[in-house]
Amino acid sequence: MTDLPLIGDYATPSTELSGARVGVVTFPGTLDDRDAARAVRLAGGEAVSLWHADTELPDVDAIVIPGGFSYGDYLRAGAISRFAPLMDKIVDAANSDAKLPVLGICNGFQVLTESHLLPGSMIKNDHLKFICRDQVLRVENNSTAWTNQYESGQEITIVLKNQDGQYVADEKTLDELEGEGRVAFRYVGWNPNGSRRDIAGITNAAGNVVGLMPHPEHAVEAGYGPDHTGTDGLGFFTSVLTTLVGGTK
């Protein structure tokens, strides 16, 4: 299935990788799976819908765990989703020698921390309010599977929308993340939720698993992104497609 952009021309994505299959997981309560699938297609990939209760992981080259309120955020955000049958398969594939690229966005990031694929956790925003805004981030690590099409230090503007977005971890873990260059994104200008050390997103040591609170999939199409023009999020999806053909910057 091909999506024609509503505005703008992505008919010739920079990667031209029509064969890459990117799975997009849907849990009960997921909201942004359609947008994530659309972002994959606009970047030039093929989006494959995956259902949380599936017991087998089909043949996919990468996975996006999108945002929303899986299981209503009951217990803790991501806590119940983490035990979905498909998540076991995703955790195994992410940790395998093949290092399946996995991106967790917002609630997907929360699922990845609950799954222990990424360290730390998210608690309620320090100001206790749901927040929705265009947010500037700095790309701190552009060597991951999901960030290699950005420049190091590049500032991008994408949508932030969450209630439980305050990233927390103990000081030792935070020092390790900093020391190993595993802080992938930092909030710029204003820390919107009290996250430790302004952390907006992190990566695992291998660089195949990345999680962040803001939403790149909502900034992939001119006319609908931040400021109605922004497409700064598209780089996540072109990055992974580039990774899949062994390309580098």
Partner: protein
């Protein structure tokens, strides 16, 4: 029917935004004796039959794996309550 009560609290070093909001609201209602509030969770696990050591052990494991996240929370109490 016996129940197993599990209490989970945010770790002391983790800021508890909800507790902070509550402590701010208390004096507005005239409750001026309290300098801090931390909000936790109480789970009640119903058991059909006797609470054996094995059942209690299951409750402890469930408390550590599903009911709490050790990164941000501590299980502070696992207790059998007979009605």
């Amino acid at each position: 029917m016996p129940r197993i009560v599990v209490d989970v609290m945010p770790k002391p070093e983790i800021l508890d935004p909800q507790g902070k909001a509550i402590v701010g609201a208390l004096p507005r209602l005239g409750f001026d004796a309290f300098s801090g509030v931390r909000q936790g969770k109480r789970f009640e696990l119903n058991v059909d039959g006797e609470v054996t050591d094995a059942v209690l052990q299951q409750a402890r494991e469930a408390a550590e794996t599903l009911l709490s996240n050790p990164v941000i929370e501590d299980v502070v109490n696992v207790q059998v309550v007979e009605d």
